[in-house]
């Protein structure tokens, strides 16, 4: 519990943990002078589920189910970050087709996460209809995911050494249809908000985060880029095939709520560009590697060949065994740098794995952004850093 002394004429206000605009269970202790926030102490941990501890007794393949539940709005990006880290640990390279499918899915996921952000952010500031539109389009992405993996949200589709399965025949037409309608939909959201006077009044010059502060506080993703720092891991330290795609890093100038809003809106369009390129240039080939120590053999081989049966048995009882060592691998998640630190001691279970969640660091900078703003602005600022508490508390 955070205990703070009351000084002079100020008032303490408890915001959360059940406040709807905190997007999960975040508690903020605000010290107010009239309606102005002069101090803020975030209190986190309400969603702590001990993922890192639980992961230590699961096999490498099983941990994917945990990462899915961490950033529940962009779970394929979490899967991708974890899988890339383990693949780096194993020292394997995946086929070209796998990389392209992963990039495609990652960008769809980024759009889907940004849609939830936009909907809830606008809802917090009183624009109800945007929320309904955003969730309508997000549903299309969830449909695509369901069609691929059978599950709408906790997909576990990206696996170590490849994918869960090849793309379905319905996948391409579905994505093409989405690509056709989506630019118009983003235009529609922009029509509702970008030049809306009330929206600009609520967001311009609110929650300003200077670039140096943002870097010092470890902010990443649109929160950092809104302040004008072009740090996008997809471009700066390309991973998983992003070097093949043509897109721009979107940066803001002032670092206020409106700039972060603009950043994410433009990022959605950039993501659509990548999805289009990935779909048009999708190479043919296998959808997972052919290493029996990492991925299970096909079913028909298991029932006919002794060696395949042994491989299958070993893989599910003992797991895959990376060499002793440690790796850190980060990707650009929807909210920023999503990093995984995995330590192997040569057994089938990770000796330790740790996630660097972008929201954790973005949230840490929240008190600095909120200083001397009104209580009603706090709601706008929280919305603009797009926190997911599942990822903060892990």
């Amino acid at each position: 519990m955070v205990t703070e002394e009351i000084r002079g004429d100020t008032m303490l206000l408890n915001m959360g943990p059940q406040h709807p605009s905190t997007h999960g269970v975040l508690r903020l202790l605000l010290e107010l002078d009239g309606e102005t926030v002069i101090r803020m102490v975030p209190d986190i941990g309400y969603l702590h589920t001990g993922i890192e501890k639980t992961g230590e007794r699961l096999k490498y393949q099983q941990v994917i189910t945990l990462t899915d539940r961490m950033g529940y709005l962009d779970n394929m990006l979490d899967e991708l970050a974890y899988v890339l880290a383990v693949e780096k640990l194993l020292g394997i390279d995946v086929p070209e087709r796998v990389k392209w499918v992963r990039v495609l899915l990652a960008e769809l996921e980024r759009i889907s996460s940004h849609l939830v952000w936009l909907g809830t952010h606008a809802l917090d500031l009183g624009a109800m209809s945007v929320f309904l539109y955003c969730f309508r389009e997000r549903e299309r992405i969830l449909d695509i995911k369901e069609n691929l993996s059978g599950v709408r949200m906790m997909t576990a589709f990206i696996r170590i050494g490849g994918l869960m399965a090849d793309l379905t025949p319905q996948f391409e037409p579905k994505v093409r249809e989405f690509l056709k309608i989506m630019p118009g939909m983003i235009d529609e959201y922009e029509e509702l908000l970008t030049r809306n006077e009330i929206w600009i009044d609520r967001t311009r010059n609110v929650g300003i985060l200077p670039a140096e502060t943002a870097i010092a506080m470890g902010c990443s993703g649109p929160t950092l880029r809104g302040s004008g720092v072009p740090y996008d891991i997809r471009k700066c330290m390309p991973y998983g095939g992003y070097e093949n795609f043509d897109f721009d890093i979107v940066v803001g100038t002032h670092g206020d709520v409106y700039d972060r809003f603009q950043c994410r809106m433009k990022e959605m369009r950039e993501s659509l560009k990548i999805v289009q390129q990935a779909l048009d240039g999708m190479p043919e080939g296998p959808w997972r590697i052919d290493d029996r120590k990492v991925v299970p053999p096909p079913k028909d081989e298991i029932v006919s060949g002794m060696e395949s049966l042994i491989h299958h048995f070993k893989l599910w009882t003992e797991g895959l065994k990376p060499p002793v060592g440690e790796v850190y691998n980060a990707i650009e998640g929807a909210r920023g740098e999503m990093g995984y630190y995995v330590v192997s001691n040569g057994t089938g279970k990770p000796y330790r794995f740790h996630m660097r969640a972008p929201s954790f660091y973005n949230l840490q900078a929240l008190p600095l952004m909120s200083h001397n703003y009104l209580v009603s602005d706090i709601v706008a600022i929280i919305g603009s850093i797009d926190i997911v508490l599942g990822e903060v508390d892990r």
Partner: protein, 163 residues
């Protein structure tokens, strides 16, 4: 500059203080003694351009002495490279805090204290971050059981006080 150059620069500047340089899968880490952590970090930030702290975490090697690795990951926005610093510590003798170098370290070190019990020296607020207040033990230690733990009742005392 590459991570190798950074390691060479560290060797040149600090000499024997750099206990070891590890390479694995293209990643470079330097092992340093715990008391020189702030000094090395400051040098890395100001002279080598590692201005962005990615993460601080720890690893518990149960039977080893000193028992824990504290691991720092950092990125240079000048050259777009990553580097890892490691220091071997015991829980009661943690490294000095690096908040003056990177303010982002505040919650990261607090989390490591919360989950591993490593005492960072001069940290302004080593309090529970993720676990509830009044929790006994540090869950990410390898000797902390994964199941069947008796949960502490942090609020019990307070309720008695009120009634």
């Amino acid at each position: 500059m590459t991570p190798e150059d950074a390691a060479a620069a560290l060797r040149e500047r600090f000499g024997e203080t750099i206990q070891d340089v590890l390479r694995f899968r293209g990643e470079v880490s330097a092992v340093i003694p715990r008391e020189s952590v702030p000094e090395v970090c400051l040098y890395m930030r100001d002279d080598l351009g590692f201005n962005f702290l990615e993460d601080i975490t720890a690893v518990d090697w149960l039977d080893r002495s000193p028992r824990y690795d504290v691991v720092y990951h950092m990125t240079s926005f000048k050259d777009w490279i990553r580097f890892r610093l490691k220091t071997l510590v015991d829980a009661e003798n943690g490294p000095p805090t690096v908040i003056p170098v990177w303010p982002a370290a505040n919650w990261a070190e607090r989390e490591v204290w919360d989950l591993f019990g490593i005492e960072f020296q001069d940290h302004p607020q080593l309090e529970r971050l993720l676990m509830p207040e009044g929790w006994i033990g540090h869950p990410l230690r390898k000797d902390f059981p994964q199941t069947q733990i008796t949960l502490p009742r942090p609020r019990a005392e307070k309720i008695e006080e009120i009634s």
